[in-house]
Amino acid sequence: MIREVARPWAVGVVWIFWKREVLRYLRDRSQAFGGVSRTVLWLLILGYGLGASFRDIEGYTYSQYVFPGVMVLNVLFAGLQSAIVLVWDREVGLLRAVLVSPAPMLAVALGKLLGGATVALIQGSIPLLFAPLVGVSLSLKGLLLAWLIVFTLGIMVTGFGVVLASRMRNFEGFGSISNGVIQPLYFLSGSIFPLKGVVGGVGFLDIPEALRAELERLGIHTIGGGWVVELPLWLKALVYANPISYALDLLRYVTLGYAQLPLGLSLGVMLLCFVLTSLGASWAMGQMRKG
């Protein structure tokens, strides 16, 4: 398989499939609209709405807290949307023409992943336009690192989507993907609530001793004047099991400057998932030729 790709025209195949993904995105305004509307809903409406009663998380407003999460949400949508088109492509689209051509499938897969990640990069950058509004400021270095993470995550999500799409025989709409895959991955990534965080600064110490003990049993502790909330164990387990949590935490670190998980662990998980999803997607696309 490797030797096939080494041939010069395989590069052309990668290029043309990258171009196809980007062109398809540019021709479909609804996708960009979705990216903007999601950003406005989560960052501004939910951000300011919940922010009014939430005060802050680790010193960040709620809008700021969800900021990296909204970038990730847009990447999830873009990557899976790029990948899920394969289901259509196989039954009523271009894919059969690809399968009966001599083009190496690994090159096709690579073009697909890079194209999906490019679209994810554009969609994932939409929240950056709103950054001044919610008071997130990024240095040039921070911006470049954020883009690197978003692009890598784009490849991961597209790759995961390609594997998913290759197993799907029936498909009645994107709704099932949105509700069944994107939203669980998003909600369980620490995007909208902290794993453990100081919420608000109202005097914990002013509360009667008995009530304080009661709160501690519920997982609410105190550090200084703040309230530290711990998630229930089952929820915590789900968040830790979700690879998106680690990519999001890295993104949170470069955009906001704080992390909830050990950086080394996040980097390791991300690298591992990147390799696994790329290999998985290449394998899945190669399998499509074996009828």
Binding site: I16, R20, V98, V100, N170, K290, G291
Partner: protein, 267 residues
């Protein structure tokens, strides 16, 4: 030279035998039509020849190359027009042809020329930069045929190419195919439209995975009807019976109806 050779070619799907021990030879330069009722195994046979399905038993050679062991060489030398378009509807005619040129590894220097030539051949120069979703059925077919010929294949497979075309579109398509035959291209056709098969050099009739008749349209009429008058349709019905062949709706048809209803992300 023999363009297609099948020896004991079979394909099973679970317990269903779609194609059972097919022996067939098609000469180079020949126009061969494979006929049969729904579910007879036409598409399965075609898919094995174009390397999309692997045979359960038996062997097939296309232009002297083994369809499994030398699949890539087979793919390089054949052109295919599928039952329904395999175009990207969001892309323009030009962009679709460009994708195809890269898939077949045409040298960068010739790609532009090849696209222009294909567009001219399909009389689509004016529509070159319009998205394919704005095309009529006939325009899409012409584009598909031009696309399938871009890499100068020696053998052209046509799978129900007239499906969904109006009489004008169908006539145009067949004029194009006839012109190609003049140039010596081998054509392998599967179809329901028996009138189209009348023009074939030889016809094979497939029923329940087996070849029940093989010969020129004239020969078949003489053998089955006892005279050279009459139509292939009479031959076909005499051989395969008049019972209706209902198939379960395929995922593809479900997809198409979903798309017709305007399902999200279906283009």
């Amino acid at each position: 030279m023999v363009a297609i050779r099948c020896a004991g070619l079979s394909r099973r799907f679970g317990s269903l035998v779609a194609v059972a021990g097919l022996d067939l030879e098609v000469e180079e330069g020949e126009f061969f039509a494979l006929l049969g009722p729904n579910g007879a195994g036409k598409t399965t046979t075609l898919y094995m020849l174009i390397t999309l399905l692997s045979p359960s038993e038996g062997e097939a050679y296309v232009l002297g190359r083994h369809v499994v062991r030398e699949a890539e060489a087979v793919r390089r030398s054949i052109g295919i027009v599928f039952q329904d378009p395999v175009l990207d509807e969001r892309l323009t005619a030009w962009e679709n042809l460009e994708v195809y040129a890269f898939l077949y590894g045409l040298p960068l220097k010739v790609i532009r020329g090849a696209i222009l030539e294909a567009l001219a051949w399909a009389s689509l120069e004016e529509a070159a930069h319009r998205p394919v979703r704005t095309f009529s059925g006939g325009m899409k077919r012409r584009l598909e045929l031009a696309r399938a010929l871009m890499h100068k294949p020696r053998l052209l497979f046509l799978d129900e190419p007239s499906l969904g075309l109006d009489p004008q579109g169908r006539r145009q398509l067949w004029e194009k195919v006839q012109a190609l035959r003049q140039e010596g291209l081998t054509v392998f056709l599967t179809t329901h439209y028996l009138l189209e098969a009348e023009a074939a050099d030889r016809v094979g009739i497939l029923d329940r995975g087996r070849l029940v008749a093989l010969g020129s349209p004239k020969e078949l009429k003489r053998r089955v009807l006892g005279q050279e008058e009459g139509s292939l349709e009479e031959v076909f019905l005499a051989l395969t019976g008049r019972g209706l062949r209902d198939e379960e709706v395929s995922p593809k048809e479900r997809f198409l109806s979903y798309r017709k209803r305007g399902g999200e992300h279906s283009r």
